[in-house]
């Protein structure tokens, strides 16, 4: 599966990326975590509040950094 972290490089985006990687490791799944920094592509997802999490091309969360547990939850729901 593919997970994208959308963000233009602010501090929160980095912490979301880190939290997402931790969640993937804890779940023990093989997922590709990519950081998307291109604003045009970010807008393509209709996201107005960064950071945002996109799982399998579906926006799962915007505007905040959730806990690792919540990300694990989001990943299982959107698998």
């Amino acid at each position: 599966m593919e997970i994208k972290v959308l963000g233009t490089g602010c501090a929160k985006c980095k912490s979301l990326e880190q939290a997402t990687r931790n969640a993937v490791t804890e779940l023990g799944i093989s997922a590709n975590v990519v950081k998307e920094e291109d604003i045009v592509k970010i807008m393509g997802y209709g996201v107005m509040q960064t950071p945002a999490l996109v799982i399998n091309e579906k926006v799962a969360l915007t505007g905040r950094v959730p806990s690792v547990a919540e990300i694990k939850d989001l990943i299982s729901k959107n698998q």
Binding site: G9, I39, V40, M43, G44, M48, T62
Partner: protein
């Protein structure tokens, strides 16, 4: 989730404790200064010490409480919702609404670009978008809480009122100038997708959890500026002579208002650091209008944000933005120097 609920209950139980500490803060500080440490009354160091150990806990207490409630209120507003409310509004009414929504909609300068794109693309007029972009950073909860804590509610209200007025009038003016051509060309070509996220249905305890998160996030970020700002303030409070700022930032110096604005633009500090310093400037003879202008310029016209906006706006539009907002701040500055 259960964990979160426990935290929320803990917060409610803490309310009476909060009130007691806040209410008895002055006697506690005096007791610590005079009875425990037995510092010499009236000495420079003693007064600086007293100022610091009274203001830091007071401001932090206010920040924690009010940001908690602001976090709850903000959970009812999302940028998506604000955008929908602003779509197709006539300009003047739209400007008023955008500036007001700027206060309550969650905003951070790193989100300025997606917000700008999202607004402009969905047909919110450029001027209305600017009213939002001016109000959102300038009238933020941290600034208002600090002003309230260090100057009282009157100054806080004056700041909010004039800030709103500037955002409305400046946005309206930019709209009237018809500067759409100075938006970077790629902006209008960008396709905005639909994120397909349903509006989250939230229970009140989730909203309280968000309030808790807001406190952790914002207070966790600004506490160091509060302490540094108040430390500088305390040092100046004790050691710098009265009237020190009168010549430079007093009423009689006509150039003080524009000069303060110019100095304020490259100075990048968040409200938490600048308000305590401004409070000392005023104490040392700076006039209210000049200090207000300085503060608005530091918080509302920040260089990093302008650099971020450069991605979506061409230089002439950025300069117009600085010019129009700067002019608004200048009028406010002179006006308050005249009244008070």
């Amino acid at each position: 989730m259960k964990n979160l609920k426990n935290k929320v209950w803990l917060l409610i139980l803490l309310l009476p404790v909060w009130y007691l500490v806040y209410h008895f803060l002055q006697p506690i500080t005096d007791w610590l200064t005079d009875s425990v440490l037995k510092l010499e009354k009236g000495a420079h160091f003693t007064e600086a010490f007293r100022f610091f150990f009274f203001e830091v806990p007071k401001v932090l207490l206010l920040l924690v409480l009010i940001i908690f409630f602001v976090g709850i209120i903000r959970s009812y507003f999302s940028p998506e919702r604000t955008r929908r409310m602003l779509e197709g509004k006539s300009t003047f009414f739209g400007n008023i609404m955008a500036a007001s929504l700027g206060i309550v909609t969650p905003f951070c300068s790193c989100s300025a670009i997606p917000l700008f794109l999202g607004f402009v693309e969905s047909g919110v007029p450029l001027g209305v978008t600017f009213s939002f972009l001016i109000a959102a950073p300038m009238i933020n909860e941290v600034a208002v809480i600090l002003l309230f804590g260090m100057f009282g509610w009157k100054v806080a209200m004056i700041y909010v009122g004039t800030g709103l007025l500037i955002a409305i009038v400046a946005g309206w003016t930019i709209g009237r100038l018809k500067l759409e051509g100075w938006v970077q060309d790629w902006v209008y070509k960008t396709r905005i997708g639909n994120n397909g996220l349903p509006e989250e249905k939230m229970t009140f305890s989730i909203r309280m959890g968000l309030g808790y998160e807001a406190v952790k996030d914002i207070v966790g970020k600004v506490w160091i500026y509060v302490i540094l700002g108040i430390a500088v303030g305390a040092a100046a409070h004790g050691y710098v002579p009265e009237d020190f700022m009168a010549a430079l930032m007093g009423k009689s110096a006509w150039y003080s208002v524009p000069l303060s604005i110019l100095i304020g633009i490259p100075l990048y500090s968040n409200a938490a650091g600048i308000v305590p310093i401004v409070s000392v400037l005023i104490e040392k003879g700076a006039s209210l209008g000049t200090s207000l202008a300085f503060m608005m310029s530091v918080i509302g016209l920040s260089l990093p944000e302008l650099i971020i906006l450069k991605k979506v706006l061409k230089l002439p539009l950025i300069l117009t933005f600085i010019g129009v907002v700067g002019a608004g701040i200048m009028i406010v500055g002179y006006l308050f120097n005249l009244i008070f």
